[in-house]
Symmetry: C2
Subunit: 353 residues, 2 copies
């Protein structure tokens, strides 16, 4: 089966069809096979990537193109060759760049979410202003806010940015507004103009909705920090098939250029384990051939009341996203302010950087 | 659980957070729930799509964004509102356009594949010429051929196109060369120029590698027929999770603008059933609000020796892709010619158009 994978992902013809010299320089080499339980094995395949990977789509294709259509194959991780990664600049800002944009050092960051979709521009802007006044470091559009009639893209971005800027002038802080840029690929240039008009420095993108390579292109040219959202990515990280969560949300989102990667926290309404969550963060922060480290934004189940429990589980370079539970509080700015004090206090941290 | 999905995919906040008027116009309505076995149910949710879907990424997000991160949810199908589909022009050529390009009426089409990756330009061009001389209707790049050193994109496209054109002048036929366009999104314009320089009228794209919305943009502006490849899409069509194969490869690839959709045949080296395969074809050919019907290209296990067995299983608007088994024949042109005669002969067909 391991040899079959190495062949399927490269020459994709039965033995004997291609010339021996072509097979020799093109097919992956099965470097090891270890039993890992009944009917399971852990396999290492060494691919001649120089002959195969000319761009990011081909990297994805080599890792999991045709074999995605088979059953029971999971890519646990990649030993990245430094020379391969030189093709991909990765995060343009990274942890340090985002800390510079928000002016926050030495503690985790807090983010709020603007939702629900269906709310009008004025109400979204009011929520954003309260989040900023309450001391949150970022406030992001929900990933379902696009260009709907209730809150059209350009109007929303200009108005929300203005409210956040006003709150920042009052507080002397630098809360960052992160609008959802995920939209038609042939209108991204126009939307980036809207972001520039609004003075916005960061944007939300969902790599699996937009295409991971479009995110890469944005990272090299958009001039804004990119916050990657996991929408539509879940079936890729099923337990016995697909890509390990650390590989997809850690390595690949970072290689594509996400400065921040959102993923569901353990104990929330998604079936991620704390082990998965910490593995993703490890891959976002690990040394990786000179690519900048990226922030984990832990979401989907962070209850404002339970933030204290989760703080020690993650590294200091973590952004905690408070969603519905924060929006449900009657005095949003006061609630945000309590949380900001909590996150600024001393924490006995389990995660290391 | 059904109400949870309808909420998760829209407002994404717990009850009581959003104003009742916003919830009323935004949340999906659970239209029906039917038991479908122990711990399984078939559910219909009616979404207020006008408030939600402003573009193709948001359509994917609404169907399977956040819930992709949960377990055990599968989208079996969509009852498409005609007005929603008006946003998406679908295939630019479709079945009739591709039949016009190849000059073939009243019978299934035959395609050959240029591979393996690692072969040089001259050898790939020779294979293409033999396929064309043997009477194949299309000859496509393998989806792993991108811009590798052994066969760089522009040189390959120009040389292969020239060999196919020469074979066409000799045969009086119109074999179509389909190079693999899946590559960096910020170089697609340049690659389309290469296709124009080569006189090429069709291209291969892998929507899950490139992004489905990039395919939509290409369909509206590239001027070439698009052949969609399923690489990287497999984990989306797992049996109990994700999207039904007919929905992903049938409806969504067609809505995005694929004129042809490649998928693995039953009985080959991928676990697709004949039921899956025929369901995909049904969705590619079904009336769909004025969108052009698209060809199924059945692949991945079509043995040249077994073509006769598969012919009656599919509609006449099918392209059969012969891969490794054809390339393995010593006289490629003669083998292709035999197959062309077979496919032109009378067939007792099970599939209907």
């Amino acid at each position: 089966m391991a040899s079959g994978i190495a062949r399927e992902q490269t020459v994709e013809v039965p033995p004997g069809v291609a010339a021996a010299v072509v097979e020799a320089r093109t097919i992956g080499v099965v470097a090891s096979v270890e039993a890992a339980g009944p009917r399971r094995a852990r396999v290492a395949i060494d691919y001649p990537w120089r002959e195969l990977v000319s761009d990011l789509p081909q990297l994805l294709n080599l890792l999991y193109g045709n074999i995605s259509l088979q059953r029971g194959i999971r890519i646990a991780g990649v030993d990245w060759p430094a020379e391969l990664l030189r093709q991909f600049p990765g995060p343009a800002c990274g942890v340090a760049g985002l800390r510079a944009l928000t002016g926050v050092a030495g503690r985790p960051l807090l983010a709020g979410a603007l939702k629900p979709v269906g709310l009008g521009v004025r109400e979204l802007a009011r929520l954003a202003g309260e989040c900023a006044r309450g001391g949150l470091d970022l406030v992001k559009d929900d990933h379902s806010l696009a260009d709907q009639p209730a809150a059209p893209f350009r109007e929303r971005v200009l108005t929300v940015a203005e409210h956040v800027a006003r709150a920042n002038r009052q507080s002397g802080r630098s809360c960052l507004y992160v609008p959802n840029l995920t939209g038609p690929v042939d209108r991204l240039a126009e939307r980036l103009d809207d972001l520039r008009d609004a003075g916005v420095r960061a944007a939300l993108v969902a790599p699996l909705l937009l295409g991971l390579d479009t995110v890469r292109a944005l990272a090299t040219s958009s001039g804004v920090a990119l916050v990657g959202h996991p929408a539509f990515a879940g079936s890729l990280v099923a337990p016995r098939q697909g890509l390990a969560p650390g590989l997809l949300f850690g390595d690949l989102f970072r290689v594509a250029g996400c400065d921040v990667v959102i993923y569901p926290n353990a104990g929330g309404r998604f079936p991620f384990t704390l082990g998965d969550c910490r593995a993703i963060q490890r891959r976002l922060l690990a040394p990786l051939s000179g690519l900048r480290p990226a922030f984990a934004m832990v979401a989907g189940g962070i209850d404002a009341a339970k933030l204290e429990r989760w703080l020690p589980e993650y590294a200091v370079d973590t952004i905690f996203l408070l969603g519905g539970s924060l929006l449900g509080r009657p005095d949003l700015a006061a609630a945000a302010s309590e949380l900001s004090e909590l996150v600024a206090g001393p924490v006995r941290r389990r995660g290391r950087r």
